[in-house]
């Protein structure tokens, strides 16, 4: 690590840790949401940016992670929060496996349609399993606990999310630099060359679905704790599109870009709250502009600037 990078990392860590001490509570909540969305964007990027499998259904994985966490906390409140989140992530990963295998036969537009349908199915399932999920009435999520610790304040939940985010980012950074991550990228670049280099394309495409779902499920679990209330209408198709906007604006195939994209979209959402009805229009516009003027997202534009 160069000195400049080290200094950057220390500064980022200091800001992350000091944030709740220096800003009002609402911005703590907003920063928490940025990180939660950042984990989703990471997961989605591993699938779409790294492995070139476009998903319009990640709100579905996010919902599954959220509801699994809520139900685990309600019915097994004694579980420490890391176990709950891991359980929710693994449950979502299983669904990712179940969706990934049939999706192997699909590409491009057809894969987008299948994942889009998956998102709708999840919302419908939540509505119909009302004995479990309380349907449209929504589900109140109890406070997360870890032994004697209760994450009942905005700041405590923020720190919980920071810790999980750091772990997830470290995992993604490791993964993309090793054999599995390279296999994902090889599939994106040339399936033929990947195959003849010995990459089992079907297995790694499925693995990308599983990892992506795991990330999104854990993020959904954090989301459940952060907002304290889940209802199916929070997980509509527009949320899936938002996740895609995050990685397109931030940078496909970039860990840092995922986080930047999540920050931009989350903050923009917050500042545009008054124009709720124009949300799809504004975000559609941003996505088109990003694709036209920054085809590699913020991450690659920043790289190009640094090289000058």
């Amino acid at each position: 690590m160069t000195r400049a990078r080290l200094a950057g990392a220390v500064a980022a860590a200091a800001i992350l840790l000091a944030w709740p001490l220096v800003v009002p509570g609402y911005f703590v909540f907003l920063a928490t949401l940025v990180l939660v969305n950042g984990i989703v964007a990471l997961g989605l990027n591993l699938l779409s940016g790294y492995t070139n499998q476009l998903s319009f259904g990640h709100a579905g994985f996010f919902a599954i992670g959220g509801y699994a966490t809520a139900l685990l906390t309600i019915h097994a409140g004694a579980l420490p929060v890391p176990v709950t989140l891991l359980g929710a992530g693994l449950a979502t990963a299983l669904v990712g496996l179940a969706l990934g295998i049939p999706c192997l036969r699909l590409e491009g537009l057809y894969l987008a349609m299948a994942t889009l349908a998956f998102g709708f199915v999840v919302v419908e399932a939540i509505l119909h399993l009302d004995w479990l999920t309380r349907g449209n009435d929504g589900l109140r999520v109890p406070v997360a606990r870890l032994g004697p610790l209760a994450f009942s304040t905005e700041a405590s939940r923020y720190y919980l999310v920071v810790v999980v985010t750091v772990l997830m980012v470290a995992g993604a950074v490791n993964l993309v630099r090793t054999r599995t991550g390279r296999a994902f990228l090889a599939i994106r670049e040339s399936e033929v060359a990947a195959q003849t280099s010995g990459v089992n394309v079907a297995a790694f495409k499925t693995a990308a679905f599983v990892v992506s779902a795991f990330y999104t499920g854990v993020a959904g679990g954090l989301f459940a704790f952060v907002v304290g209330y889940l209802s199916p209408d929070a997980f509509d198709v527009f949320l899936s599109v938002d996740f895609l906007v995050m990685i397109i604006v931030g940078g496909l195939g970039s860990v840092g870009g995922s986080l930047i994209g999540a920050a931009i979209v989350t903050v923009l959402h917050d500042s545009l709250a008054a124009f709720q009805n124009y949300r799809p229009l504004i975000f559609g516009g941003i996505m088109v502009a990003a694709m036209l003027f920054m085809p590699g997202g913020v991450a690659s534009t920043a790289r190009a600037w640094r090289r000058r």
């Binding site: 995992g171 054999r179 994106r188 670049e189 195959q195 003849t196 394309v201 693995a207």
Partner: protein, 259 residues
């Protein structure tokens, strides 16, 4: 027993026979060339040998095991590596990463080890990196390890593909028009590289090539395909004197890129 024994290889596309009953051998430690006019079916042979196409008939025995029922990554795992006529480098990956992907079958790091960055995976990655650097130096790309593969000129992309194929640790190397688009100096370097792979590494190499200087200069055996059939097989000078071969080459234009 030859390392590779191709027997009665046949494939049709939409009722049109692209290959009809082609047979030939490649011995261990030998360079064999597959030549023929455009559309003769040379690349089709490669696509069959690497599992990208399914044959309608025939076998391809590698050390006594038929490759033709296997899917591409299983064939790679058995030590068959290839390059492509119109290069298929991983364009937006670094040159080094391209060669690291080539080592895929030799590494064992899984999903969990990758996520957790386990010490075993780190060690394995460090070794893989060293091997990749050695291979890049060997093909003369040591100075561009960190640049995107797409930014290399064609001649260097072709050498990168050879390095990626070698990274697999192959027994049989299939080179599809490795000299296509190279200038005479680059072609001579390529010939030296191929001879080295045969003499020092003991690799068996099957090369599809239009450049007759290269074919005659490095191969022990030449197989001539014409309209999907084997027209001739033998030592380079025998094949060059074969009237049927001369007729096939003079009768139809050759020397351009294959279709």
């Amino acid at each position: 027993m030859p390392l590779l024994a191709v027997q009665d290889l046949s494939i049709s596309f939409g009722g049109l026979a692209a290959l009809a009953g082609v047979s030939f051998d490649v011995e261990a430690g030998e360079v064999a060339a597959l030549i023929g006019p455009n559309g003769a079916g040379k690349t089709t042979v490669f696509n069959l040998l690497t599992g990208l196409y399914r044959p309608t008939r025939g076998r391809a025995m590698l050390d006594g095991e038929d490759l033709l029922g296997l899917v591409p990554h299983e064939i790679a795992r058995r030590g068959v590596a290839r390059t492509f006529q119109n290069t298929e480098v991983f364009r937006r990956l670094s040159v080094l990463d391209n060669v690291l992907v080539g080592q895929h079958t030799r590494l064992s790091g899984g999903l969990l080890g990758g996520l957790l960055g386990s010490p075993r995976v780190r060690r394995e990655e460090a070794e893989a990196r060293r091997r990749a650097e050695t291979l890049l130096a060997r093909v003369g790309l040591g100075d561009v390890a960190d640049v995107d593969a797409a930014s290399l000129p064609l001649g260097r992309q072709k050498r990168l593909e050879i390095a990626r194929a070698l990274a697999l640790g192959p027994r049989l190397l299939l080179l599809d028009e490795p000299a296509g688009g190279l200038n005479p100096t680059e072609t001579r370097e390529l010939m030296r590289l191929i001879r080295g792979l045969r003499d020092e590494d003991g690799l068996a190499i099957l090369v599809v090539e239009h450049n007759m200087e290269l074919v005659m200069g490095i191969s022990e055996r030449v197989v001539v395909l014409h309209y999907g059939k084997r027209l001739a097989e033998g030592k380079p000078h025998e094949v060059a004197r074969n009237p049927a071969v001369i007729e096939a080459y003079l009768g139809s234009g050759s020397g351009d890129a294959d279709a």
